[in-house]
């Protein structure tokens, strides 16, 4: 049994920023666990940029405008006090990254360059060519190495133990050794990322994004909030779903249907391609459904992003990573050919219910959450591009500070027996599930879940479909109880890790479907075909799902926090 004051779970931008913050406190023992080498996280995949009203390019910009853009982008489901707090801290967060060595692209004055991004009033998105997430992640890693953050890598979170209503510690699978480990901790920060893999291949997310932290928090008694709010990025590559950055639109690329028409003029006549992500994603799907896409109307259909008019200089200088992706994964060169694109699941706005944005605390003392795993909620029903890296940078730090403050003011829970019991339970489970010789293979359950989620709880949703998806989830959850893992080795048993991940995905998928079923309106990324309008009279509130005493999902609601922005219809 190891003992740390602060345990951070997850090595993405938020997790490492949290660990860095906590590690800078004197006298605190801090560890960060991650199921893979720290720089492999989803943050590395973020291309376009990080938002902060630095006014390096647009003098008129301000944190107030950033706040309004974010509120509006969230389709008024974001908590306005949290959003204000967030936008005010973005400049500081970005400048700190710059100070720590992040290589940002530069303006003529040598300041951080900023570009246009969807849904924003001014060029506000700070960037490093088209690999902003990668450089931010590597910078945080460098700084964590400098500060001597204790990484326990290839340590995979299994469960959190709560004693007397507060965090006690974590049960962890040591992947390299193939054994259950116990870490006793005063505070635990869950920065475990998203859950896009519930759609398996139709997502931009890495294989890692399986909702582990959300599922663990849920089992520990923390709520999952606004889980139906899932962003579909409008410009995934046609064949693979791999992300092509918003920079494609930001730098002036056109979206064309099979007739060669810039169809966004019908959906967002002013902003055109720069309308917010949900508007663009819906427009593409509408075009495809109306037969104006390429390659039919099925799952293989697509529209194209045309960059040719931008010229080789812009494409090679500013979008060369995107060009590489298109060349490598789509076999086409943006210099000479339009690139096939189609929406793809990109981000989950919902997540672990954070009840105090100033500390990233959850309802259970000692459990904190940040990054995509969390729902604070600043993204509401739709996240603006460039706000997720900013979220990681800002709330990563906040959660690290919150967890450190809490740890400094509290004592270890007296829960050795509970930790031991839980560890033994997992050890027994490992032996039992890996020694099974029959059952449905884990991969089959994963694939069937993905098909049901994409078809029934994807971009367009309706009651009948969601209900069917829930039935599939119930059946798969039963099949999971006897599923076939197929590898009983101890060392680096990825089959066992995948087995636990599927459980996380089933857990999260159910919350997503229940949330989607409950919200009988269309708001932001959530589109109910029977209820095409936003319904502010009933749904200006968060829905929270918690694990009930009998194992059922129990719903509660919380009003959205308003400060000064009254709901308006969103037009771009």
């Amino acid at each position: 049994m190891e003992q740390y004051d602060v345990l951070v779970v997850g090595s993405g931008g938020a997790g490492q920023r949290a660990a860095l913050e906590a590690a800078r406190r004197d006298g605190l023992r801090v560890a960060l666990i991650t199921k893979i080498f720290p720089t492999r996280s989803a943050t590395a995949m973020a291309q376009g940029g990080v938002n902060a009203a630095l006014n390096n390019v647009a003098k008129e910009d301000s944190t107030e405008v950033h706040t309004f853009d974010t509120v509006k982008g969230s389709d008024y489901l974001g908590d306005q006090d949290a959003i204000e707090f967030f936008c005010q801290r973005c400049p500081e967060g970005v400048l700190e990254m710059d100070f720590m060595g992040t290589p940002f692209s530069r303006t003529d004055e040598g300041k951080i360059a900023q570009r246009n991004f969807g849904g924003q009033s001014y060029p506000r998105t700070c960037y490093s060519a088209d690999k902003t997430g990668h450089v931010i992640l590597h910078t945080t890693y460098e700084q964590c190495l400098k500060e001597g953050v204790h990484f326990l890598q290839e340590w995979y979170l299994l469960d959190i133990v709560v004693k007397d209503g507060k965090a006690g510690g974590a049960i962890i699978w040591n992947m390299k050794k193939g054994k259950v480990e116990i870490i006793k901790a005063k505070s635990i920060v869950l920065s475990t990322g998203g859950a896009g893999r519930v759609f398996w291949t139709r997502t931009t997310n890495p294989f890692l994004s399986t909702g582990d932290g959300m599922a663990v928090a849920f089992r520990a008694g923390v709520g999952l909030k606004d889980m139906e709010m899932i962003q579909f990025h409008p410009t995934g590559l046609g064949k693979t779903g791999i992300l092509m950055s918003e920079a494609v639109r930001g730098e002036g690329g056109y979206l064309l249907n099979v007739e060669g028409e810039r169809f966004m003029k019908k959906y967002a006549p002013n902003k055109m391609e720069l309308a917010s992500r949900d508007v663009v994603a819906k427009a593409i799907e509408d075009e495809i459904a109306a037969g104006r896409g390429f390659n039919g109307t099925g799952l293989d259909a697509y529209v194209v992003a045309d960059l040719r008019h931008l010229g080789p200089e812009v494409i090679i200088e500013k979008l060369h990573g995107i060009r590489d992706l298109a060349l490598c994964f789509e076999h086409c060169d943006p210099l000479t050919d339009p690139v096939p694109i189609r929406p793809t699941c990109h981000y989950i706005m919902g997540g672990i219910d954070v009840v105090d944005y100033k500390t990233c605390a959850t309802e259970i003392p000692g459990i904190f959450a940040s990054g995509e795993a969390s729902c604070i909620s600043i993204h509401g029903a739709n996240r603006l591009g460039g706000n997720s890296l900013a979220d990681g940078v800002v709330f990563g730090k906040v959660s690290g500070a919150g967890a450190a403050d809490y740890a400094q003011a509290s004592t270890f829970a007296d829960c050795d027996a509970e930790l031991q019991a839980k560890a033994e339970e997992w050890e027994a489970k490992f032996v039992e599930v890996t020694s099974r010789t029959s059952g449905r293979p884990v991969a089959e359950i994963r694939d069937e879940l993905a098909v049901a989620m994409w078809n029934k709880v994807g971009i367009f949703r309706n009651e009948a479909g969601i209900t069917e998806a829930l039935e599939v989830i119930e059946r798969l959850t039963k099949e999971y109880e006897t599923c076939y893992v197929g590898d009983s080795n101890r060392t680096y048993n990825m089959a066992f890790v995948n087995y636990v991940e599927i459980k996380s995905m089933l857990t999260v998928a159910k919350a997503i479907a229940l949330g989607a079923l409950n919200r009988k309106e269309s708001r932001g990324a959530h589109v109910r075909e029977e209820f095409p309008k936003r319904d502010d009279s009933q749904y200006l509130k968060h829905t929270i799902w918690k694990l009930g005493a009998n194992g059922e999902y129990e719903m509660s609601e919380r009003d959205v926090v308003f400060t000064k922005y009254e709901p308006q219809e969103r037009k771009y």
Binding site: E96, E142, P206, A495
Partner: protein
């Protein structure tokens, strides 16, 4: 039906063996797709790691037919065409300890990375409140190096590491060091250069495998070269430095190298004397001519022009 066979170098709990898997061919698929297909449908015990599947995270590097590459980027179509076979060998990347099958131990590499202080020593005029300033031109000087994704491909076939890992760092470590040396915002290039110098900087054999393996088209060998220049200009000297300086001196003196004085300048008189017997053998076989010590080479035609160029280069450097 066309089929693809992977011969996978497996390793588990002390046992190393090759296992072959055959599956149906599909167009436009990657090496990683094949691994996932095997794990999903043929053998759940096959172990590998992958994350982004879009060549930005560096997790899935493997050796394909002897050459390190990212599994998510390597196309089955291209590999089979290039090597003229539907049988593909997949092995863990080299110069890493293997944990299981295709999974290698990165944790052991972190302490090596830390040696060169892979973080910025930011200039004192910058603060967390103001951030930093940098011209677009200065940004361009090092930004390429920040594209390193720590995939390990450059280390996999590094001949120096294969010969001895202890006294040499992985190529990406030098790339990381040079990233900070070249960053105009870093106040202390020597904080990165000196540890690199002390840990193998001059031991690179220029085999160029790092350059050919990097999926991001970085050039670790060039980074090593630049660090050597910086170290030399700062007065750090060892056999490698002296050897290079001797070449330069010969180039400007006669235009061509003098093999006899080369050894003296590199090894010093004592070491050279120790190699006296060896030198005698070389002399016997006509490999060296000790008389060149007293009667140096005749300078090449146009040596004055070469020296003029040397002076102009020095001027240009000022």
């Amino acid at each position: 039906m066309r089929q693809i066979t992977y011969h996978i170098h497996r390793f588990n709990e002390g046992r190393a063996y090759v296992q072959s898997y055959t599956f149906d061919y599909e167009a436009d698929r990657t090496i990683l797709w094949g691994l996932q297909k095997i794990k999903d449908t043929l053998d759940p015990t096959l172990t590998f790691v992958a994350a982004c599947r879009s060549a930005v995270c560096g997790a899935c590097s493997v050796k394909v037919n002897g050459q390190a590459m990212l599994g998510c980027e390597a196309k089955i179509d291209e590999i089979t065409e290039r090597f003229g076979s539907d049988e593909i060998t997949v092995a863990p990347i080299g110069n890493f300890d293997v944990i299981r099958d295709l999974v290698v131990d990165w944790e052991a590499k972190v302490s090596r990375l830390k040696e060169v202080a892979p973080w910025i020593f930011v200039k004192p005029e910058f603060t967390t409140k103001t951030g930093t300033r940098q011209t677009a031109a200065d940004f361009k000087k090092f930004v390429m190096n920040t594209e390193c994704i720590l995939c390990g491909c450059c280390a996999s076939e590094c001949n120096k590491l294969s010969a001895n890992r202890e006294d040499f760092l992985d190529p990406y470590v030098y790339t990381k060091a040079n990233r900070f040396v070249m960053d105009s915002r870093d106040v202390s290039p020597m904080a990165h250069t000196t540890p690199a110098f002390n840990h193998g900087l001059w031991k690179c054999v220029h085999c160029m495998n790092c350059i050919t393996r990097c999926p991001k088209h970085l050039k670790p060998e060039k980074d090593i070269s630049n660090l050597r220049r910086v170290a030399t200009e700062a007065g750090l000297s060892n056999k490698g430095t002296r050897h290079a300086i001797a070449f330069k001196q010969d180039l400007l003196k006669t235009g061509r190298l003098n093999e006899v004085t080369m050894s003296l300048k590199t090894d010093g008189l004592l070491d050279s004397a120790k190699q006296g017997l060896y030198a005698l053998r070389l002399w016997k076989h006509g490999k060296i001519n000790p008389f060149e010590l007293v009667v140096p080479h005749k300078p090449v035609n146009g040596i004055e022009g070469v020296r003029t160029i040397g002076r102009a280069v020095e001027e240009a450097g000022k």
